[in-house]
Symmetry: C2
Subunit: 538 residues, 2 copies
């Protein structure tokens, strides 16, 4: 049967089969908003009618500048199901980039949380296509934006039924921009087909396994790559959803987990690191509902995985992905063969990026585009292919030439190894790997080992130019209240790595600069330390 | 990305990520053949080369007349991945129908198990398109078939690599014929896309949840609707597969479950009923590896589900589907809301056909094509729609007109109710429902209640013509060694059903005739009892 794979199929299933399941939002004032898929479905229909009235045409985009809450959830469906597209914006982008993405996407309407109105006001003059602002609230606060309307006023009185148009599965349902560390953000289109398949895959037993039995809490922002697909996958199966809004600190998240019976949550490692410390200080808080935690955005330290197993019986499963991949590509579920291995070995596998999920192909290639051996050692660039991977960036021919192979695989820019069990280990970014004397040194591995030292709280390793060896590693460390010398750290690294891997210089900093997505900003560091002199030892 | 959803994606994943996982076959002589996905992949490539040499063109079909074993598994992939199609034949069809399906499918090659050579010999003269016979064995036994070759000779020496062609996902990968109780079998096409999506769905946590951790044993024949999709879904995730060949009696199946660590198995209810009796007599046999059992083809009695829970901690999950639906459409997984209900209620839900799986839509309609209320009572015809549901029968315009609604839904021919939790209950076949005085009587519900009587081992209820009421129910029962009278059975039914539902006549038979797929053959019974006189009581 010619049944198109569209987001309408996901929503329709939730509304028909799970009309009474809840979507709970912690609002800015701390109160919880509760409603059901049935009620959400009616409001999504109202929103679609409102988009009709605003004159947003089929194929056009609306922007959201919003955290995780029920109105953003409605925007995940109304535009795409009615033939438009949702552009999820990262409000932490620098103004110049923020203006660029709104203009590049040609957004017609901007839906904005009250908390981010100032950001919009500061940039509105530069928006070229925006005709309407909608504040995601009951009322419009004092603002210079115009024309502006409150979301509730926008949809009030609209019919709660909508006759959805036929949608082609290849149509865009959403768009996100990658906040690269260099150059302008690049726009990625998601198709209905891609998100449908990603959602089906996210319920697969060998991946996130999101099920009708789950209560999910995406801490990951909904403006990051479809909230890692959690809101869509949860809707497909009718899972209860808990949306934390602005309350993403460990205390409020733990409270939501406890109160709402959350079984699955997804976030960057930092959140779970902070959560563990919070739980140590608050032994009365109970997160035992948790069945599993999905971690992405950066590799979780092995020690964190171990801690959640031992203290909370909450397995951390690492997922790897990127904006271009919808995002899920690999997951570090433990293969059956490895279940009987000793704990050290099991944790080493689980700390890797994982094995490709069903439907996702990977190929790690060297400079000659040949696949590198699965020896857990040889590095190459990870290239990927799947129905939910973007095949182009919006209007960026040179980025497209660089980022895709001739036979249509995405070059991820990640340097990886793979082993005979099929596990992929991300050892660096192509831009961060240190090329010393024709050999590659993984900055990530050095960083992890530095952070495993008791005295080090943060560490990042960058390449600095070197006359003889082309590049050499330089380590930037934050030690907090502990004291440690460069020699001690070099000795620590020397226990695991060959001499020529060891950084020649150590910079002791008060803090490491971060990008808008919270990652260490190596570009800023490189600029700051550009003229760092390196005494050659090798 | 334009990644076509094809069977090559499934196979490639197993061969790349799970090359050492086993596929175990119990051979006719009782020995077990063991090999891996890696080895299977190489032989599949050899078979594809052999098909090239035989001159089977792209888009053409080859027939299999075979049980569940590794060579049949290879045929599940080599024809479709190389652009052809596999026609899985039910060798239990009457000769006339068997000849019809081979000719209708225009099969070029027939792959046949040694056990079924006689069936082929008896029909070969009537085959219009077959040019080659291949015996699925090391050697060709004495046979009148010509030209004929042994499977092992066919593939021996062929290259173990094959350059797979690009396949469009809408291309046919396989075909099956429905063995209807009336008329000629109807041919159903499966597309690569449909089987890919069905396989992804079959790994979903809310369905069969087939995972890399599983060892699966499909007792359901591979010639029935893709073996209910088990071999394909298992390959997608790299699960170990155990194929029982001719050894589908309880003893050998239990032994395989025990020895091979089978975690998931799929079969009709009869198998598990017989298995329970076998286990009672053989307390040393251990099936505790089993994590869940999928049951389809007919509704399992509630008592069977209860028994497997209590005695073997092996939940029976009912699935509903048909040849036209690939086949999985609904599954009776217990909704979270119902987990705390009392056992009686839980078992009542689990004995229903279940809720639609993700991606599958259902609509139960009355004679005016209006959806019937979800009141667990009002009957209507179940109509369905999904990317893995056939939208046509081969060259059967009148069947197509009857079987599909104007807006493209399949009329299943099943009479069903649905309830407010979304569970569908199949209460009858459109052809079997008894229309008495303008009201409908469910033959299935009467049968189930009769079979719940201690004295009754088998029961079926058919409609007989009646002057005043149009149709009235007539019950055919097999009582085995127990004695019971018609009045006693009528009283038994009277405890649950209204007077006008109670059969007017009871026929006590030695056995109930069965169709080629093992179901009660109501058509044969109707013919035999055509002139049964019915004393009117109502």
């Amino acid at each position: 049967m010619d049944v198109q794979l569209t987001l309408g199929e996901l929503l329709d299933r939730a509304v028909r089969l799970f009309p009474d399941r809840e979507i709970v939002t912690k609002q800015p004032d701390g109160d919880r908003h509760r409603y059901t898929y049935g009620e959400a479905g009616a409001r999504i229909n109202q929103l679609a009618h409102a988009l009709d009235e605003l004159g947003v045409e089929s194929g056009e985009r609306v922007a959201t500048v919003a955290l995780n809450h029920y109105r953003h959830f409605e925007l995940y469906f109304a535009p795409p199901c009615s033939g438009r597209s949702i552009h999820m914006c990262n409000m932490r982008l620098p103004d110049e980039h923020f203006q660029y993405i709104i203009n590049d996407a040609a957004d017609r309407v901007v839906f904005v949380d009250p908390a981010f109105i100032e950001k919009i006001e500061a940039n509105a003059d530069a928006f070229e296509t925006v005709e309407q602002y909608v504040v995601l609230a009951d009322d419009v606060p004092k603002t210079s934006l115009s024309p502006v309307v409150a979301y509730e006023d926008l949809i009030e009185g609209q019919p709660t039924e909508y006759d959805w148009p036929a949608i082609d599965e290849s149509d865009e349902c959403g768009t996100c921009y990658t906040s690269g560390t260099t150059g302008k953000p690049k726009g990625v289109s998601y198709s209905h087909r891609g998100v449908y398949l990603h959602s089906m895959m996210s319920g697969h037993t060998d991946t996130n396994g999101i099920s009708q039995r789950d209560t999910v809490l995406p801490v990951v922002p909904m403006f990051h790559a479809n909230g890692w697909g959690v809101p869509y996958a949860a809707t497909f199966v009718g899972a209860k959803q808990v949306l934390p809004g602005v309350h993403t600190d460990p205390g409020p998240v733990a409270e939501l987990i406890d109160d709402e019976g959350v079984t699955m949550s997804a976030a960057v490692p930092t959140i779970w690191l902070e959560m563990a410390e919070y739980l140590d200080d608050n032994p009365d808080v109970d997160i035992s509902n948790i069945d599993r935690l999905t971690v992405g955005g950066a590799a979780p330290p092995e020690s964190l995985i171990r801690r959640y197993d031992e203290e909370y019986d909450a397995p951390i499963i690492q997922g790897w992905g990127m904006t271009e991949t919808s995002p899920l590509g690999t997951m570090s579920t433990l293969r059956k063969e490895l279940e009987d291995r000793d704990p050290e070995e099991r944790y080493a596998y689980r700390a890797k990026a994982g094995i490709p999920v069903p439907g996702f192909r990977t190929r790690i290639i060297d400079d000659d585009d040949e696949e590198v051996p699965a020896d857990d050692e040889t590095m190459g660039e990870l290239t990927v292919r799947a129905p939910w991977v973007a095949d182009t960036y919006h209007d960026r021919p040179s980025a497209n030439r660089e980022s895709f192979t001739e036979d249509g695989w995405l070059r991820t820019g990640d340097i990886a190894t793979h082993d005979e069990q099929g596990y992929i280990d991300i050892v660096d970014r192509t831009k961060d790997v240190i090329k010393s004397g024709g050999e590659w040194i993984s900055s990530v591995e050095l960083e992890n080992e530095l952070m495993a030292h008791d005295a080090v709280t943060e560490a990042t390793v960058i390449a600095v130019a070197h006359e003889k060896w082309q590049e050499r590693p330089l380590a930037c460390v934050v030690t907090g209240e502990h004291e440690v010398t460069a020699d001690e750290l070099r000795d620590h690294l020397g226990e695991r790595f060959p001499d020529w891997w060891l950084p020649d210089e150590f910079e002791f900093l008060d803090e490491i600069p971060r990008t808008s997505t919270g990652k260490f900003d190596k570009m800023a560091l490189r600029e700051r330390l550009d003229d760092a002199t390196v005494d050659t030892k090798p």
